[in-house]
Point group: C2
């Protein structure tokens, strides 16, 4: 029997985001691999082994899971926060398969999508991703900072709303402020900026500010930031938080 | 009692993608509004009224739902395919609130995120959205074609993977081929292109081709297209469909 590997998106945290497909894939696994805090979200089930690893060990985790799936036809699950295909474990598993032993290419591999952080954060505040947008990772562990700046320039000047994943890291606390400074070359100071902290978790906090105020606003490793475009609008509401949205229609070219 | 409006993402089709939050919000509604085929996915529940409308009537549907929520404090649900915040109903509801009667700003509005088509299509084939990417709508009903071309240019030359929503419409069958021709200015003919048709539905079909062959490949209104970047890779597998993924790391600037 061929081994099976499922890469499973848990969504942003709360079980209310966990799809039935993901729940079924978790229940069917013999062995679970993942970053410790993500594994902790999965209820313990008798007969399943659990293999926690550190956040920075994605490649090693993928290889350990593939090895296990290849040996004896086990059903193995790699758990991922949000969607496994968005700055998460699915690419790490593919990288490992491409460069690993031939037997890994024979495995039955399933990717189970999940609600990624930008969708959950956007939903908390309205519809900021309501028209063309991009998702960029600010981590320069995996690409040069100059390339990140090129992509910020391209996205902002083309009028795309920008969802920023990994806005800061412990090693590079200044990345986020540098990115905001870069975006200020292209966008008005009044551009809406959304901070979604710990979205989908008990300490969730979603707030809206402006590009001018954003650089001084604290972002941490569990923050998802959405930078509006020139078209993005804020609706103030009496006694309720504002709604932020990007209209579906654009009448003319404004870059 | 204040009225309540929930804008609910059903995901790509199959109930396996419907989150518990979305299922609970559907169950709690007194009245459901939506495009007919989306409403048809929601099990009939006694005491709920259902209001189907055509695909092109998003603004009118939003206004009817807001009117209903404002009258008598009803719990109203607007159902949306995929995620309501991605080229879908959440922005239409926000537009209506911004320009509508003051009472609409007093309503309790909840957006319930869902698995959007690009995440489901990507998961079927590997991890093509594994690094920086954008989501663009090719519909020029709502923006000028020149702006679409500018955004295709910006995204492809900045090395972003591109998810194309609404690749064709009945009125503009040539849009998709024009977009591919535009992208050929920036990307090699061998760039992987993924066609996800009816993802999450019984007739689902996900295939991979090249940019060279893409223009002649049929896309329809239920197709989601993903255009790789120069970094996107295809892993051939014996006896299994290929895996397509975009690596997490980029060593140098390649545009």
């Amino acid at each position: 029997m061929s081994g099976h590997l499922a890469v499973i998106g848990l969504g942003p945290g709360d079980p209310r985001y966990l799809t039935p497909e993901a729940a079924a894939a978790l229940a069917a696994a013999h062995a679970l691999y993942g970053y410790g805090p993500y594994l902790d979200r999965v209820p313990v089930r008798e007969g399943q082994s659990r293999h926690a690893s550190d956040n920075r060990e994605e490649r090693a985790r993928a290889e350990a899971a593939l090895d296990r799936a290849a040996l004896g036809g086990a059903r193995v699950a790699v758990v991922s926060g949000g969607d496994p295909g968005v700055f998460a474990m699915a690419a790490a598993v593919c990288e490992a398969i491409e460069t690993g032993p031939d037997i890994w290419r024979t495995l039955d591999v399933t990717i189970v999508p999940g609600i990624t952080a930008m969708l959950a954060a956007a939903a908390q505040i309205g519809a900021p991703l309501g028209h063309d947008f991009c998702a960029l990772s600010l981590s320069d562990n995996l690409k040069p900072w100059e390339l990140i700046e090129q992509r910020l320039d391209a996205a902002a000047s083309a009028g795309l709303v920008i969802a920023l994943y990994n806005p800061v890291s412990l090693a590079r606390p200044r990345q986020f402020a540098k990115a905001i400074e870069r975006l200020q070359r292209h966008l008005p100071q009044s551009t809406p900026v959304i901070f979604g902290r710990a979205v989908g978790r008990p300490n969730e906090q979603v707030s809206v500010t402006t590009l001018e105020a954003a650089a001084a606003t604290h972002a941490d490793m569990s923050t998802l930031v959405i930078i509006g475009s020139r078209a993005t609008r804020v609706i103030e509401r009496p006694g309720r938080p504002p709604l932020v949205y990007t209209p579906r229609a654009i009448d003319r070219v404004r870059t």
